[in-house]
Assembly symmetry: C2
Homo-oligomer: 209 residues x 2
DNA sequence: GACTGTGAAGCCATTCACAGCT
DNA sequence: AGCTGTGAATGGCTTCACAGTC
């Protein structure tokens, strides 16, 4: 790792490249060019090479990249050569869907606990794990070494549970609530805002036509 | 509307500003400055003013913005002064969660239909609406004037249902599947990639520390 | 005095184009 | 000959700083 600041867009693309390479491995493909990756994921080949260049030289000039080698590098760069444990706060529809989503486990993310404030949710089972009360937060984060908090509570409760997550030692937050959260500078925050996404579509439908 | 190309980041922020203004209206606030909006949503005040400047002059120098007036402008700019009808393809956990999500209706989005390929999902009720077979796609899109398709099927089926959606007349796609979709240039596509989001967190946890 | 609206400057990401390997 | 790796050029978004208005 050599560069100082990596563009977020680059990191997102690396994740997508890695998934594409995984597909190629499944298909038994051994070698790939930046141009093929580019076509596969819908970016330019220069972009692919620039993105990779932040982290080293992984290809062979005149030849291309060995699929499995490049995949291994990307997984390591993305921090996916280990498992991460997450906690979900909010066992509503969305929280439950995420808890049961297979795609996470496949990429190295465990859901270590799922908590909710509502008494009638507590005790219900979501696959392997049982919904527990919010009071369990600090204990579960501690004992299961949880670094990622996933917030799927209503907007009105989002900042409060976020503060508690951070206080309990979580280092990164994935926020699904429609609220702008304030977090200290050493905590990583990403927002997955469903309404904003739909509204960008609505804007474009309205504006381009 | 005067400018030609509006940055996507600007559109996303407008959506967030509008939500913040909605909160202010609920709180009975009548007037607001770009600086207050900026603090409320975590951007700079110059950014707020520049974003608004793409679309006109909505404030009063030396005074600020009337909350309700600005809110009205933003809703109109975002195309939220009308209702939009969406169809959800895939009645799995995520599709069901989205179908039942209250936040969409609140911002003017109806779910007109939800379809699935699996016989044991068809006929089940999600709130008001019933899961129907994929064959109903063209008919429902036609009769309910649906412009937005929401894709929540597994990666392996994503491109196929997307093609059908577009063939049936959908103008915009919100893709939740972990697949890069190819769509014609006149169709608007947005991706909400849950794994990518988690992997960006993982990268940052790994890289910054 | 306060705050908006905006041209100019600065900064960052993407694209170009080609030197460097195999 | 083919494809990577990369400095230079381009393009676009954000920040700055101040003129304009109330």
């Amino acid at each position: 790792m050599k560069a100082y600041k990596i563009p977020e867009a680059t990191v997102m693309r690396l994740s997508i490249y890695s998934r594409y390479l995984h597909q190629l491995i499944d298909d038994g493909v051994k070698s790939v060019s930046s141009d093929e990756i580019a076509h596969g994921v819908g970016v330019s080949s220069a972009q692919v090479r620039k993105d990779l260049a932040y982290f080293g030289e992984f290809g062979t000039r005149g030849v291309g990249y060995k699929v499995e080698v490049l995949y291994g590098h990307l997984m390591k760069i993305l921090g996916l050569d280990r498992r991460w444990c997450a906690i979900i706060i909010g066992a509503g529809k969305l929280g439950s869907a995420l808890a049961l989503y297979q795609g996470f486990a496949a990429r190295g993310f465990n859901v270590g606990a799922i908590l909710d404030a509502s008494p009638d949710k507590i005790g219900t089972k979501l696959g392997e794990i049982e919904v527990e009360p919010l009071e369990m937060m600090a204990q579960r984060i501690e004992e299961k070494n949880i670094t990622i908090g996933i917030v799927t509570v209503p907007a009105s409760a989002a900042q409060e549970v976020t503060d508690k997550l951070i206080e309990s030692g979580v280092k990164a937050i994935l926020n699904f609530s429609p609220r702008v959260l304030k977090v200290p500078g050493n905590v990583i925050l990403r927002n997955v805002d469903l309404s904003v996404n739909l509204e960008v579509l609505s804007f474009n439908l309205n504006y381009l036509k």
